[in-house]
Symmetry: D2
Subunit: 374 residues, 4 copies
Amino acid sequence: MATNLSSREKLILASMARLSAVRNHHLTAADVKGNIENMIGAVQVPVGVAGPLKVEGDYYKGNATIPLATTEGALVASVNRGCKAITLSGGAKVRIFKSGQTRAPLMEAESHEAACRLLSYLHGHYKAIRKIAESDSSHLRLQKIDAHLYDGLIWLKITADTDNAMGMNMISRAAEKICLHLEGKVQGVKYLAVSGNMCVDKKPSRMTLEEGRGKSVYAEATIKGSVVRQVLKTTPQAMEKLNTYKNIIASQLTGSYGMNAHFANVTAAIYLATGQDMAHVVEGSHGVTIMKAKGNSLHASVTLPAVQVGTIGGGTKLPAQRECIRLMGIKEREQNASRKLANIVAAAVLAGELSLMAAHATKDLVKAHMRLNR
Amino acid sequence: MATNLSSREKLILASMARLSAVRNHHLTAADVKGNIENMIGAVQVPVGVAGPLKVEGDYYKGNATIPLATTEGALVASVNRGCKAITLSGGAKVRIFKSGQTRAPLMEAESHEAACRLLSYLHGHYKAIRKIAESDSSHLRLQKIDAHLYDGLIWLKITADTDNAMGMNMISRAAEKICLHLEGKVQGVKYLAVSGNMCVDKKPSRMTLEEGRGKSVYAEATIKGSVVRQVLKTTPQAMEKLNTYKNIIASQLTGSYGMNAHFANVTAAIYLATGQDMAHVVEGSHGVTIMKAKGNSLHASVTLPAVQVGTIGGGTKLPAQRECIRLMGIKEREQNASRKLANIVAAAVLAGELSLMAAHATKDLVKAHMRLNR
Amino acid sequence: MATNLSSREKLILASMARLSAVRNHHLTAADVKGNIENMIGAVQVPVGVAGPLKVEGDYYKGNATIPLATTEGALVASVNRGCKAITLSGGAKVRIFKSGQTRAPLMEAESHEAACRLLSYLHGHYKAIRKIAESDSSHLRLQKIDAHLYDGLIWLKITADTDNAMGMNMISRAAEKICLHLEGKVQGVKYLAVSGNMCVDKKPSRMTLEEGRGKSVYAEATIKGSVVRQVLKTTPQAMEKLNTYKNIIASQLTGSYGMNAHFANVTAAIYLATGQDMAHVVEGSHGVTIMKAKGNSLHASVTLPAVQVGTIGGGTKLPAQRECIRLMGIKEREQNASRKLANIVAAAVLAGELSLMAAHATKDLVKAHMRLNR
Amino acid sequence: MATNLSSREKLILASMARLSAVRNHHLTAADVKGNIENMIGAVQVPVGVAGPLKVEGDYYKGNATIPLATTEGALVASVNRGCKAITLSGGAKVRIFKSGQTRAPLMEAESHEAACRLLSYLHGHYKAIRKIAESDSSHLRLQKIDAHLYDGLIWLKITADTDNAMGMNMISRAAEKICLHLEGKVQGVKYLAVSGNMCVDKKPSRMTLEEGRGKSVYAEATIKGSVVRQVLKTTPQAMEKLNTYKNIIASQLTGSYGMNAHFANVTAAIYLATGQDMAHVVEGSHGVTIMKAKGNSLHASVTLPAVQVGTIGGGTKLPAQRECIRLMGIKEREQNASRKLANIVAAAVLAGELSLMAAHATKDLVKAHMRLNR
């Protein structure tokens, strides 16, 4: 019978019969409960470490070892060099300037008047609505509801603190409860969808750049002149100039929300190592790098509007991923665990920017890739 | 001595001592050669399968099984439902309408005249430059060089076919060769950096939405009325309306380049299963979903401007990842292997859109997550 | 001597000698005091009227005659048709949902800490700062100050009500007073410029689309089926479909903040007739048109985030311009005069959208232009 | 009877009865033929002159006097100072790097296959289509047709040279002819609208920033150190720094396509003086200003992607407007008249940027407005 199979079909059959590597993993059924359906096995991604990285954050203080899961040769080495430059210069200061997960359900009103009634009800019953929103989970704390109104369409942009969880499921449940309540109370409005794309979840968006979601984090360091010279092999002036041309001007000309060199590489590698939702790398690519020569020193900063990390829930409970979180000295359920992780992410992203920009300034990037990738 | 350690330091030390799960993996040194530095082990991510998905692509034709590496409960089940809806309706038509990797090095001219000289040299010596670009790799074929000029700054946006490799390293080497050549030949211009951020690599960008990079892929299916009803549990009219409000209008209002429901979820899961560069999920989140009721049927399409996949290089050579590629019936070095993979990615993304939009239209999303995630 | 002049120079000399049309105007020195320097005369632009347009606004109620200064043949006739369609259907409802002029001076801090000190001072002394802001003009009322912080740069986005004036001069003076005060009070911060481009004055900007400036106005009308047929010569379904493809989808694909057919034509013509600052046509081009078939009727709405009009100051005091304001039944210094004008602008823009979209739907545009322009 | 009138109605009636200033104008019926309907009179806007401005353009060479119609006090004086700074430093170099008017009609295909057939027909019959496009006007020369395809929707972006006319009417007629031809020849496609909003006419748009329309013009000047000091009263370093913060960084953070200080002010004033379509100020607000300290000198440049000017057609034939064109030494029908005008526009915009940025750097703006406006 198999003689009638095409060569492609034979390949598929053979693959499914074996899948020896896919099946050769350490995950138990308990490990992946709630994470996957139709499971056939697992893929494995190597983890390298960068650091120590001295972090002076508003939540995390200490010398962090950064686990990076990646298959891009030279990435770990590059972040490592950035960590060295920062740590030798006294560390990175990090501050979370905004925090709150978002979900924006969509409602439809039969008329603009009905839409206005909805806004008015929302305003007048905010306390009751907050109670409803918070009734499902002890971890969720409603922060605000912004209404965006166009014609008869209403997007309710709900912002909430979700504790140590990334929290999209938690806030989705709260959003649905709010909408069902409003639909029952305000005549002429219907609840259409729990996500109306104004969250903006897992999509590139200027609203994310401007308003942030998850943790909005700022990290900065002033790299000493000697360190710029010896570790980064370049000058503060060359770094400032290249940053302005590449990260600021070109990003504007291309309509990019990533005014940076490679935020996404570093967020992707930490997110994968620590069990985050990998589609949130999209948000993790947004943000701004600024570099300024200050005499002999180089002042550098990164602003990440949307670091999406949790220490509980999702993939964070898988055994190796949890170990990577603990490797940074974070206990997954301790107070502000997710904020500590966000502090480290931003500092590591800063390290990545410094090193890659230096590699560009010295035109060493291609050489480094050839040396390490082959 | 250890008595002086803080509790965080103790946690870190203990973690590093054990790392039992991180170390318990199947990767050999040969497997990860060129992929990682300072390796301490690996993380493992469960893989589920969706399908069969009937794909009528310009490169791939057949019923594909889709491997998805994710920890977001309900995602595999959702894509699977979308596959069912498409396959029962005769399959998805898929077409790659553009293909070419990009790298945009930055050069600086001492004057606008010098910049114009550069353009003129480029125009006059294109053949010789192509030869230089292609001298390093037998896999790279130069397609074009667009010059973007602002004041004395010149971004050379280089586009090349990179065969079955994703190809960023290959094209970076070619870009550097081109720039060094130009620097030598044209007076008054300097080569500043191999990437000037107009690629636009791993960043959200309108240029990517408009011009594409990697593979630009279109997939469409017409879902039969009975299938919309029985599999998606909704109506074509409800789907069209919700798509217009959520994916089109809201995306515009938020300045999003992701006029879709969740491209990033599906591209992230396939990319991780098949060893792609995870920072390319950023590009994989760009694109447009269009839905139209056609009588009883639902016509749906997705346009992905920037599918970044290879079947050789990077993480594709890791054992489980390679098995996932073969599971789809693709041999990693066969002709057009990466185009076949891009065909499947777009069809799977279409499946994901159909199922999630239906879950929104029927307000079943929160329930599904609660059923499957807990 | 003149024999050595080039033909161009002769042309210039001859022009300057005559300028008979430029010099043939009715403006007195008193008329243009404060409006112009090096004055050589004036240009004259014809004014046509559209209407009556029934406006049911939150500030203006009545049948308005719309003065339009333009040289684009067919524009007045087209707006006039839209007015007829609206008025025959019961009029346009108009609401100002936000109001406030903006100016965003730029300050620079010597460190991120100093920048944070600035924010903290601002928060702690808001009342005193408001008093300073309002000390210069009895017409200005401070509404809020938003601070945008990147690295050591701080943009203070100041929003204020400016009564019947468009108000940019008024708010610029207030902004400068605020910055000089802060510079004196907070150590380590310097006042750099009265406009740091986050206003965003006279530039296309997503921030303007999202946050608005000047008057943010919504206008809607439900056009009766018979009127759609007889006046607009099309169907609600054709209008909805074309609006979705042209104004919504295409605008998104091109990165346009003008999700409309031609807001700019109508705002430009009214602004010119009534003496507004013509560079504010830029803001007047932003906004969204939504059209929906509701049975036999057509529901249409426009959202203009940034109508920039005043009835006093600038060119509004020129004699013909003032007459155009009064022609609409607005006394330039009456209460809410500028809000009344903003109501009419939005209703007229709606009329313009209805008529042009109908001309497109019936493919009558080219014919109309040929009939009327030649 | 009049006793029953409201005070508003009385005001309107009285206004219409008089309209003495509106009616007191010099325009004859012949002057405004094809420009206006329902004409009641005219508005008059004062014109001031700036200059001489030394322009070394690819089309215009000479010392230009710039007519500016505006009611914003201080604007003419400011541009005049910029002209002085440029002329004392040897003039502005100006180059038109792209030229072509655009119109993008929308077609709809019954299927993606039909859409592909359309593209294929277009490709195969380009010469015949060009002939059709050019059959209506001896002034139009087709340059290219780009097709943008999403699902079954096709936008044909048509680019054409329109000689000395701004040319929107001309290209609209050509676009309609092309679409009617295609509709007749390709089965399964329908012509929907002559403008599908991808032109992008009179709307803010990234496509315009990237691709340009009308004339794309670059102007630069190197201002001598002594002139920076004595005329602009500032330093090259202060100008470069402020430009980077204000025009580059802030514009990116706000999603602005106007990376400049006030292009719109200058384009609006010249457009109004010379009879252009005032809604094109929208396009005239797009573009980039770059400033760099070069030792003691200041290098400054402006890139305007979309200068929309003609010397024939529209309002250019009105008597005072035509005199303003001739005042610059341009004969409206001479070869490249519109390109000469575009050269001057860009140089004047550069003058405006230099002076306003200097006023910001020295914090003289508010003072200047108070001195000149009151």
